[in-house]
Symmetry: C2
């Protein structure tokens, strides 16, 4: 009997099947009470493949119906490879792998890396291997915009006689190539946050009819769902894609839901307008201010990834010339506001090989610091939750109602007389960047740089206080055993965090 490992792709091919449909035929996979039905998909002329991702060990029996010709068989699914923890799932506002291991997303962005030369792609893989990144935002379609003028070698479809793309004729070479890259990422423990549509197009992929979009999507999802490390990102900047209606994106999300039997993580990324919460959505993939992580968390009640907040670099565009410190600052801000934040790099090069689009090498200074943060979080055995409190002692979950606040205080009175969006912006500003568990509290001061600070830990217990310099990547013990109200002496510079560890006594969370 065939054997495969848990969370790895089972694949079977059939030739001489005369059909012109990209997705056709059906297969069922059964293991005890677990039963999955998937479609086959075209893989070149007259050839179809079926793929399946087992998420349970033991014997799987399959039955493949090729228009009446039923092929039956079995394979044995053995324990997982130690590097493969299975699909990432959203649990509350955090992520974990299928096997229960915690997953802390530290993503980067290389939109069109699979559309570059073989040599450059290999360099990207090598760079990723040495990087802190365990998620990558990447597009199915090639990218057209400044620094992206080169033609890709492969396209996802063949063309019709009139020169238009034929979504009914997928280009097997393109998809094999993409799959190889997704597999390589999987082996490196990197999630492929695959962008299904985007606006930066000169070939016509963003201008399919709605019917063509759905044919493409059904094919893509049928074909790639069996990769454990796939995430579906419906779009990069959905609202910037010309001509698509708001409702079409909902159709796309529902298509993912209908076709992907494993429920891979699914999101839609915005330009200006954040897409409303939908049943197919598993998390927020936001373009915007890292400070607003809390806003999205409260609004969507899902994990929040700030998937675009600007990139470390020095190109002309405002989104691509953050200092390394500011990139690090935004990642820390999102993380200590209960979310995550995705890296990107755009240093001008005359050869136009910029990491954010093409991959290659990283030249910046933020990745090393992001690695430091990742290690720090991984060294903390508990998931840290956002601490929602602020200066004015207003219930942050109920600040539309002013009845619970002290309105004798003229500052609060003034605040509550502001238009709602202005008030909320102030309240957001006044909330600390603080995440905590019973035994650990991580408090990031951002660009604030006090040299002295009144600080409170519980009265009843012993707590250790460390000062973290996010740029120097240092941890310095400030107090080895304190309790109650203390006065901290801090470095008085930007990019300082305070890590409190409970040695004994009361929980750090109220």
């Amino acid at each position: 009997m065939d054997k495969i490992r848990l969370y790895e792709v089972f694949e079977k091919g059939f030739t001489d099947l005369k059909s012109m449909e990209p997705v056709k035929f059906e297969a069922t996979f059964t293991n005890g009470t677990d039963k999955y039905t998937v479609n086959l998909f075209a893989d070149g002329a007259n050839r179809y493949l079926v793929r399946f991702l087992p998420q349970k060990t033991g014997q799987w029996d399959y039955s493949i119906d090729l228009d009446g010709n039923v092929v039956k068989g079995s394979f044995l699914c053995e324990g997982r490879d130690s590097n493969n923890h299975g699909l990432v799932k959203a649990i509350g506002d955090r992520f974990q792998y299928e096997d229960g291991t915690r997953y802390l997303p530290f993503g980067t962005t290389c939109y069109a890396w699979t559309h570059q030369t073989e040599e450059l792609q290999q360099q990207t893989i090598d760079t990723l291997k040495a990087s802190p990144y365990n998620k990558i935002r990447m597009c199915v379609f090639p990218k057209s915009m400044p620094y992206n003028e080169n033609e890709p070698e492969l396209f996802p479809f063949h063309k019709k006689e009139d020169g238009a793309w034929d979504v009914n004729q997928p280009n097997a070479d393109f998809w094999h190539h993409l799959e190889n890259r997704i597999s390589q990422l999987g082996q490196l423990g990197i999630e492929a946050d695959l962008i299904l549509f985007h606006p930066y197009d000169r070939w016509g992929f963003s201008k399919f009819t709605h019917e063509e979009d759905l044919i493409y999507l059904k094919y893509c999802i049928t074909r790639l769902s069996a990769f454990h490390n796939i995430w579906w990102s419906l779009a990069n900047e959905f609202d910037f894609v010309p001509g698509k209606l708001f409702e079409e994106w909902d159709d796309f999300g529902n298509m993912v839901l209908a076709v992907d039997p494993y429920r891979h993580l699914t999101s839609i990324h915005n330009g200006f307008v954040v897409y409303p919460k939908k049943p197919w959505m598993t998390h927020c993939s936001i373009q915007g201010d890292a400070q607003k992580t809390i806003t999205w968390k409260n609004k969507y009640d899902m994990p929040v990834l700030i998937d675009e907040c600007g990139y470390e670099g020095d190109i002309e565009y405002s989104w691509g010339n953050l200092s390394a410190f500011e990139m690090v600052n935004r990642v820390w801000t999102a993380v200590t506001r209960g979310g995550y934040c995705t890296h990107g790099e755009t240093y001008h090069r005359d050869d136009e090989v910029l990491w954010w689009a093409k991959g290659g090498l990283l030249y910046g200074e933020s990745s090393e610091r992001i690695a430091f943060l990742r290690k720090l979080l991984e060294s903390i055995p508990e998931n840290l939750q956002l601490v929602q409190k602020h200066l004015f002692n207003i219930n942050p979950n109920d600040h539309k109602d002013s009845s619970n606040i002290n309105t004798d205080n003229p500052i609060i009175k003034s605040l509550f007389s502001l238009p709602e969006h202005e008030r909320d912006a102030h309240l957001l500003n006044f909330m600390p960047n603080m995440i905590s568990s019973a035994s650990y509290r991580l408090h990031y001061l951002g660009r604030q740089r006090p040299s002295i600070m009144d600080y409170t830990v519980p009265e009843n217990g012993k707590y250790q206080i460390e000062v973290i310099d996010v740029w120097e990547m240092s941890r310095t013990l400030l107090h080895d055993e304190v309790a109650g109200n203390i006065k901290l002496r801090l470095p008085g510079k930007e990019g300082i965090a305070i890590l409190v560890t409970r040695l004994e006594g009361d929980s750090l969370v109220d």
Copy 2:
């Protein structure tokens, strides 16, 4: 005949006048068709003073009516002292002195400096003398808050028998002292932006009845109006002063208008809520984001001073721990968005002498850079006006109407589908920090740090391009003679400005 110089205080005192009213009796001053009527004010027991600020040379005749006993006389007003340019006036969105000299406000903040020891006040004066600051925000009343626990020596009023302040009994020693300081500032060319009310009070000055407030105000304005370098700031953070109604502030403004015959610059400074435009207001004195200088400029059609945007320092409070770079960045941002921005400094000291409240010494690194900016602006002989344009080619003065924009562009469509406040925030972000005249353009890149940039100057002419490093305080010639579209190679760091100078040809303003 008495002689005084233009813009200097004419003063005459009368004793043995039995009255309990702080402001009483009337005087008229006449010079040709110019006629001013002012009140006298109590200056200790049975003593009254009249003051007058001549703004025209030649002979002034006065007539002072002391309840029927009319005192007449004359004095000769000679040409101004070379250091005294007279009152500052708002002209459009800029300022100039009475004598026509341009005034570029570079302010600082020492709220309670006149309430400190004699020695410390002298040190403040010495520090100001060596500083770039030509305006200072300072309070009539003493200040109570962290770092402000010491008791002042003098108070503006005597107390009643029950221990409450008696606004009808001004303390002449207090006012003489304050006036001496205002005079000293005047001699240094520094405008005294005098704060009439503020919330940080433990003595009861913020808790007068409305009637008491008006008695105090009438006295203060009558007494101090004749100083050429007085500005009236109705409040620091008016909306944080407990118990005062919104309309009371309008009464205060109208009182200024009624009592001050010279129309000194008058503003009201906010905490959260910016006060609406009123006839007594000559300019905006904003607490808020320097980026919004444009917003206030367009809304108020007046000069905009960001009088509080945080302070360089390292204290615990978010408003008092900006880096020196960020302080400089905010000043540059406000200036290149068509306004001005006020400095302050709050470095923690165990002796609690922080510049922002008490004066003393400056320890920070921003003042030197603000001096550099002041010199740079003064070296440009023309007033530079805000260039209101942005990336999307939307008419910034009419962006509520989307009919004038290209709505085929999905990015603009998305932008215009946002709630108004979100759209406006994006539009504000996309506007450059750029001020220009026909011959000079100053373009500040803020925290953006391109190393390469497509740049446009008019086709028809010759233009010089300099790169300014706002932190290093350097001006570097980049191109000595260019025209049309050029590619700039820039340092790729934060805090860079571009100064374009027309050598010949078309105006830099469309």
